[in-house]
Amino acid sequence: MKTLYLAIKYLAILVWSCFVVFPFLWALTTSFKTANGVTGGATWIPWLQYEPSLHGWKTLFGGAGGTDITGPYMNSIIVTGSASLISIVLGTLAAYGLSRFTFKAGFVRNGDITFFFISQRIMPPIVLAIPFFLLLRQLGLLDTLAGLVLVYIALLLPIAVWVMVDFFNNVPRQLDEMAWLDGCTPMTTFYRVILPNSIPGLIVAGMFCLIFGWNDFFFAFTLTFTNTQLLPVAIVALNSSVTPWWSLSASALISVAPLILLAFVVERFLSRGGLAGAVR
């Protein structure tokens, strides 16, 4: 009975692991193929089943027959990085305010404002895409990095507020009061006392912002054309009718690689129980 249970358990884990790994392995092996290796049917093992080549990887960096993705990669880093940074700054400030002070405006209270921030995650991207398109065109920001940063802030600010409000609610208020009595105004209290003690929260918020920013496709796709291509857009552009599967696979792998590293960070927080608070 016990052995049977264990067998089922490990079998289930094995099956799911295969499912998880499947597309990655497939992309990995495909990235070393050439046109011949791809059209010959589904093959997995290099040298034995097909002749491996670095062609797919070379095209990523300007080699013939593919797209140079270094530009889009840089664009993605710039847009995700700056939007995350701005969102964290604004979000952390707002979250601190909401966690520490009482705001009243008509029937609106702190809880309502917090909900307003977080509820923006409900907004489907398409609902915003149309006005964004028109407004950015009006401002001359269509197809620019600045325009995308602006849009991504809308995407990431709610996440930053969500994580940080929860974090600050768990920082004892007496710490703030102590700082006040030691002569700090709320602003100095915030950056001299609260911020240095908020690094775990900032890491979690930053991680979420980076993931969501990096993974967005829709806004980058609808609000840019050719000048400012972000990484996902560049990759999807390869997904045309005559698909160079080798470059496609290589670029896909190189674009998700940094995120896979983040999975390790997330797991560390999970094991320490640090996430239980952050996700509630």
């Binding site: 409900i122 149309i130 006005p131 809308a154 709610p158 797991e267 094991s271 129980g273």
Partner: protein, 288 residues
């Protein structure tokens, strides 16, 4: 005395209002205009667009498909995510390795993985049919047959987002107190009874949160559809977001697409509120 408090809240609040609420109000205004590629500009045509969408069978069809797809994938994700979380919760060799592995899909860019999945599902040279054929079965037209295409999109959604359920539920399991389990053990309850008597009720709160968050996200499904099937074959995999995208940013019927957006948003908010109430009732009744 605390005048500085506004310095904390206002920058973020104003930015959010400027980049979300203002555009949203703009959308509502545009939805009462006939703005399209031939006649760009804000005129006033009253509720004409809304009248048109009531008779737009393609729109309601897309909404129905979205409902089936969202509810279907989220329920499957919940069951699988819970099962996986339970599997790596207890003693296990290389537990941390599997935890990381199970988290990986949700971290990866959905649209990029959809591109890879499209090659996986390729009818003649994709590996999935390759495996089926190696097993002596027939390859299936994964992306060109309506039902199969629908299922394919669901498989990708499940692959991508089950880890999210897994993450939240595992975080919940990790923070559960130990005492009830000792008590259950002393009472001689088996693993199944312990699960339904102790674990499941204790996870009610986090279950509701996880399901709701996933439903919200799933109601936006369109990237995987765009990349894998472009809504096809026919309109077999077309979701609301994708249909609005086609009307708005491809056909450039901005006025009409805006009315679709507004209706879609309202329907979503109402149905998510109802679902939230139902979920709370379901889980809380279960607790007693």
């Amino acid at each position: 005395m605390y005048r500085q408090k506004h310095l904390f809240l206002l920058p973020g609040l104003l930015v959010l209002v400027a980049i979300i609420i203002f555009p949203l109000l703009f959308t509502i205004r545009v939805s009462f205009s006939s703005w399209d590629v031939f006649q760009p500009g804000l005129d006033w045509i009253g509720g004409e667009n809304y009248g048109r969408l009531l008779e737009d069978a393609r729109y309601w069809g897309a909404l129905g498909r979205l409902l089936v797809m969202a509810v279907g994938t989220v329920l499957i994700q919940y069951v699988l995510g819970f099962a996986l979380a339970l599997l790596v919760w207890g003693d296990l060799r290389a537990r941390r390795f599997f935890r990381v592995l199970f988290l990986v899909p949700m971290m990866t860019t959905p649209v990029v993985m959809s591109v890879i999945w499209r090659t996986v599902f390729h009818e003649s040279i994709g590996p999935l049919n390759g495996i089926l054929q190696a097993l002596g079965l027939h390859g299936l037209p994964w992306l060109s047959e309506p039902t199969l295409a629908f299922i394919s999109v669901m498989i990708v959604e499940i692959w991508q987002w089950t880890p999210f359920m897994f993450l939240l539920l595992l975080a919940g399991l990790v923070s559960l107190p130990r005492e009830p389990y000792l008590a259950a053990k002393i009472d001689g309850a088996g693993p199944i009874r312990t699960f339904f008597a102790v674990t499941f009720p204790a996870m009610a709160g986090i279950s509701i949160a996880a399901i709701l968050i996933r439903l919200i996200e799933a109601s936006k499904i369109m990237e995987s559809v765009y990349v894998m099937t472009s809504g096809g074959p026919g309109t077999a995999t077309e979701t609301s977001s994708y249909y609005i995208y086609i009307r708005g940013l491809r056909d450039f019927q901005l006025g009409y697409a805006s009315s679709l957006s507004v209706t879609y948003l309202v329907i979503m908010i109402i149905s998510l509120t109802i679902i939230a109430k139902v979920l709370v009732r379901f889980f809380v009744k279960d607790r007693t």
